[in-house]
Subunit: 88 residues, 2 copies
């Protein structure tokens, strides 16, 4: 970094992807969450945050390398979306 920033450290946050999944009933929300847990095991990674109530699940993903989204992140996101479609 430049001399002008001496004494400062970079604290960049990784880029994130957010999506809200809405469901009609808690049973559907629960099925999605269970499938998402299994998917996390399969990928060996976990969303940065999952925020849910009875009929919604908000998912925040961050780039796996902490810096930029790569094809593997897009695959993970797409697989999560597919789980929600299965439940419809």
């Amino acid at each position: 970094m430049s001399d002008a920033l001496q004494g400062w450290e970079r604290r960049d946050k990784p880029p994130t992807l957010f999506r809200r999944f809405a469901f009609e009933r808690y049973a559907q929300t629960r099925a999605f969450l269970d499938a998402l847990s299994a998917l996390c095991d399969e990928f060996g990674r976990h969303p940065q945050n999952i925020n849910f109530g009875t009929t919604y699940v908000n998912v925040t993903l961050e780039a796996a390398d902490g810096q930029a989204f790569a094809p593997q992140d897009e695959v993970f996101a797409a697989r999560i979306s597919a789980l929600a479609e299965q439940g419809e």
Copy 2:
């Protein structure tokens, strides 16, 4: 309601209880979430919101009757706390 409030409607939010549960590893977080799901089935109710990442779970409960906390709400909260203690 008084005449001064004609045209207005009450939009009270139910009282809520919040607690953050922190864990050292994702496996513990996951075990807590799984146990919490089972507890929700047992009680036939669900927290207003659950917000979790790899090593924390934030739980928000609302009064079951939407108006005031009753002993049943305290039992539900205490049982959730007990789940976290089991995992330690």
